[in-house]
Symmetry: C2
Subunit: 248 residues, 2 copies
Amino acid sequence: MNETIQTLLAHQSIRKFKEQPLTEEMIQTLVQSAQAASTSSYQQVYSIIGIEDPAIKKELATLAGNQTYVEKNGYFFVFCLDYHRHQLIATMAGTNIDDTVQSKEAFMVGTIDVSLAAQNLAIAAESLGLGIVYIGGLRNNLEAVSSLLECPDHVVPLFGMAVGYPDATPGLKPRLPKEAVFHVNGYKKDEEALPVLEAFEQTTATYYKERTGGERQEGWAKQMARVMETPNRLYMKEFIESKGLDKK
Amino acid sequence: MNETIQTLLAHQSIRKFKEQPLTEEMIQTLVQSAQAASTSSYQQVYSIIGIEDPAIKKELATLAGNQTYVEKNGYFFVFCLDYHRHQLIATMAGTNIDDTVQSKEAFMVGTIDVSLAAQNLAIAAESLGLGIVYIGGLRNNLEAVSSLLECPDHVVPLFGMAVGYPDATPGLKPRLPKEAVFHVNGYKKDEEALPVLEAFEQTTATYYKERTGGERQEGWAKQMARVMETPNRLYMKEFIESKGLDKK
């Protein structure tokens, strides 16, 4: 197993960082790594906002639901889906790209592009001995985040990422068994999937029991069924459309 | 610069593969690497379908717009957003998660989850000396792809990925200058971005000119403005909603 695959398999989300900031050179390398990812039809539908102002970090931490690691880390990145650049270009070229930009296809392309770039950044960081955690909590209030970061129309922050020197090692979190997520030639029948999911329920119940000293006993399936019963961020559809995206 | 970052920065999409298939062990390692990626709230909203039946590969190649490298490669993966598993679990637990699954937030979470897993797989492959190319062309006709792969409701193939031993090296494709995609503390003003985009227009015009022996002369901005004038895959919104996703 090579170094890169070792890095991938060793991933754990880090939520406690030392006070040491990233160097300029590191930030440069991370962004360059992000940009090297594949991008749909060469569109490069993303912007990355580095947050260096402590007041903005603090505000983002509050908006993300008081997550201290959004404020306290080596560096904080916000990853945005971005068609503003394409709109600028189209205006200069005298073409109208509204029907493309407003389509669901474009929203999917953008979300995928942003995520590929972000994951490259994450892996580059981990290969340097840094830890990372994705911050979906920014989506609690995208209106406020967008306004704080002065995002124009056609730009939507999708998530943040805290990066830094780890000050805790939570350990690997078990993933679904390969048999549950990997299918061959076609989607698996439920009869095949169910026993695998049941086995995972035991694995994760044991995992949580050990991690919480017996306090938490539910496994993955029970946790999902409970948490997903309550929908959240239901403002999202209206918000995304208000930014001129994913309308048709 | 370490091995992993070298791998990331050396990425080029490979569209011509040797006839050598991947080994079982490689496929195992690639899927395991995919699963090690971060996942939103531990939801693991993805399935990966490995295509081993030559007839299915051929059919997918046709559906993707006659892309031969969908058929001829070392292995072909289809990456699906997947809430079917969560629906199964919820039914067993007697809870109703429809409002969550049908939300735009869930669709974003799923699209991000799938992409992070896929990019891990891509990097693992490249670290093994394999080449990869993402196949967004599957989205030309998702109804047919879904039906061919027997995907139930709440499962949407987002893209494919051909993996294999490279039989061509197209070279690195220039990316937007860092200054165009990287902002600090807030989104950059257009006045700052425009000169950078103009410089990139020259870079890419030269790149295409050299690669096509002078035949193609437009740069990135002109290409984007031209291609994006014609929207495509406008069936997408209706299709995604018909699968019980992204409805509200």
